[in-house]
């Protein structure tokens, strides 16, 4: 099996899906001859031509609005937003149409659209190339929101997203686009939507996380083991909504302690929902506070981003807080 990074895995997923199904098309800014600014769509235009790999004008609202019409027709468009920080022009289309057309039409129409986009920080991108805006999508009924953390998952989840009949917001943590390599099958496979991945078993405390924060959490868990012998369990959600409540509950049943880690700003980040879900449905399992390690409630800064983002020290502090409660 070849090893690949996430960009290659995503490129392969797109290529395979486009070969499999003529209804799959790609559109976005610079996705054609440029191959996307991160090269996720590299060379697709050579194989599939300008009708199926569409370089669009610079308008996210237009990209999504047009893609909605295509999806209603029966195509399976994969729309790239060059950086998720630029998706907001399309927010009306996403909230009012992508998420609601099935409901509004009493099930007569659906929008099998994937909006994929690089997200999150860690590459010195400043406030408009580093955001983690998943909360906006998670809160919007009608959308599925996904963020892979490995090349294998990226390929399998993107394929699943293209095939599902519902709209998917597919967020790609750009800081690990090329830093993680692993074996990725060259054949067809799917990673199911809605299922978390158990990254590391443990018995003392559960970390629920996703995206690049999986790796920070692993590091912090090592530090906790080293310093205190604490055994941390790590869950990578993969699908953010609907998130895998069973995986979360099962783990807390065992550990009784919960830390949630994400890059998105803390207030109403996904951590809030997971914490509230547990407090509502399984508070008896908790042995202490549910601690969230998240981006601070500020715009994402250009300077000191590694201090702004959840880092090993902050995750370690959270583990310590729940363990020593």
């Amino acid at each position: 099996m070849p090893t690949m990074n996430m960009v290659q895995a995503l490129n392969q997923a797109l290529r395979e899906e486009m070969r499999r199904d003529p209804r799959v098309i790609v559109l976005g800014e610079d996705v054609g001859y440029r191959g996307g600014v991160f090269l996720v769509t590299e060379k697709l235009i050579d194989e599939f031509g300008e009708l199926r790999v569409i370089d669009t004008p610079l308008t996210e609202g237009g990209i999504v609005g047009i893609a909605v019409g295509m999806a209603m027709y029966g195509l399976r468009p994969v729309a790239e937003i060059q950086f998720i920080d630029f998706v907001y022009e399309a927010f009306d289309q996403i909230v009012s149409n992508v998420a609601k057309i099935r409901y509004r039409s009493g099930g007569q129409f659906s929008v099998p659209l994937v909006i994929r986009s690089p997200c999150c920080g860690g590459v010195r991108g400043g406030m408009h190339h580093s955001q983690s805006p998943e909360s906006y999508f998670i809160h919007t009924a009608g959308l599925i929101t996904i963020m892979p953390s490995t090349p294998y998952d990226a390929k399998g989840l993107l394929k699943a997203s293209i095939r599902v009949d519902d709209p998917v917001i597919f967020l790609e943590p750009k800081s690990i686009y090329r830093t993680i390599r692993e074996e990725v099958p060259e054949e067809d496979y799917i990673v199911p939507i809605g299922k978390a991945r158990l990254v590391k078993e443990g018995s003392d405390v559960t970390i629920v996380t996703y995206g690049a924060m999986v790796y920070k959490s692993i590091e912090a868990s090592k530090l906790a083991a080293e310093k205190h012998g604490w055994d941390v369990e790590i869950i990578d959600l993969r699908t953010l909504m609907p998130f895998d409540r069973e995986a979360v509950l099962k783990s807390i049943e065992k550990t009784g302690r919960l830390v949630i880690v994400h890059e998105a700003p803390k207030t109403l980040g996904l951590g809030a929902e997971i914490s509230a879900y547990v407090a509502e449905n399984a508070i008896e399992l908790l042995r202490g506070p549910v601690v969230r390690v998240a981006g601070y409630d500020t715009p994402f800064p250009l300077v000191h981003e590694k201090l702004y983002m959840p880092n090993v020290a902050r995750i370690y502090m959270a583990i310590k807080k729940v363990m020593e409660y």
Partner: protein, 381 residues
Amino acid sequence: MNLISQALAKDLNLDKALGIFRVLDDQGVPDESLEPKLSKDFLLKIYEYMVRTRILDEWLLKLQRMGKVAIHAPNKGQEATMIGAALALREQDWMFPSYRELGALLVRGMSEEEIIDRAMANADDPLKGSDFAIYGSRDKKIVPAPVPVGNQIPHAVGFALAAKIMGDNIVVLTFFGDGATSRGDFHFGLNFAGLFKPPVVFVIQNNQWAISLPVRKQTAAPTLAVKGVAYGVPSIRVDGNDVLAVYSIAKEAVDKASSGEGPTLIESLTYRLGPHTTADDPRRYRSDEEVKRYEAKDPIPRFRRYLMYRGVLNEDLDREIWGRWRDYIETVVRRCLSKPELPEEVIFEDVYSEMPWNLREQLEEFRESLRVMKSLGLRVE
């Protein structure tokens, strides 16, 4: 420089975007050089659509006042535009209307009953009670309109572009109001249309008002049609109260689109004779005289005069048509009124292709809440 720019200016064909195309004068007398050659039956069919639309519109107003319909956006005065344009479509073509095109729904084959069921959101509502003032039917190739003004414009373009990509010969027609031309969606949709040349026809129902805002306060452009220039989309302005003019121009646009020659923007000049919706009070922003002035241009009497001028219609036949449709629609209304409500759990349907666990949990809470209400004798206020 001047030669180039003159050549370019000629290409832009601004005459059409700045003038007004009309076939009938205010008295219904046709300009014979422009008059389309239509059969008597077809002309009467047009008229019947106009009559049906007017009666249906009145009923929806009434039903709203009775509390049976949440809101209604009156169509009165705009029948020529919606019917003329919709008639230009072929069986295989698709329509993306706004909330003010009852007549176009009828032309595409939706029945009065479907429309009233929808407006009442009763048990037979094909859209299952999801929103008000929107109509559609996959069967009839009508996509239910989004309430946010203009949202459907890029959809229509994407839909048409998808058909082009798949090599299917369809044309997509979308209606929207003058107000919608200010929205981003208009800018996006027209831009993509100019670039990718999908088979799409845009019809601006310029009824001169966006609620209380007259068109001259919406844009400083001399016409709305001229906006096509900004996108390389050929544009034309037509008298929207002249059903033959609208039909002729829309047909040309549909033919052009279906033969691969791309989009057309049609500005159809009409007037909203009623309030914006049943929740509006137009006296706050426009004068009764203005309305009176436009009542004299009502497209239905105007077309009736034409039909009489051409000997297609006489007083008796006219009375018969109105009477027949009034009776028929009244029967339909009665039937619709007798239908039950949509079941309560419908509100949990069609969010996703399969219900996710959070909604399943919430549906349980919902069922429990109905039981509690029953057991405690609580009523929904």
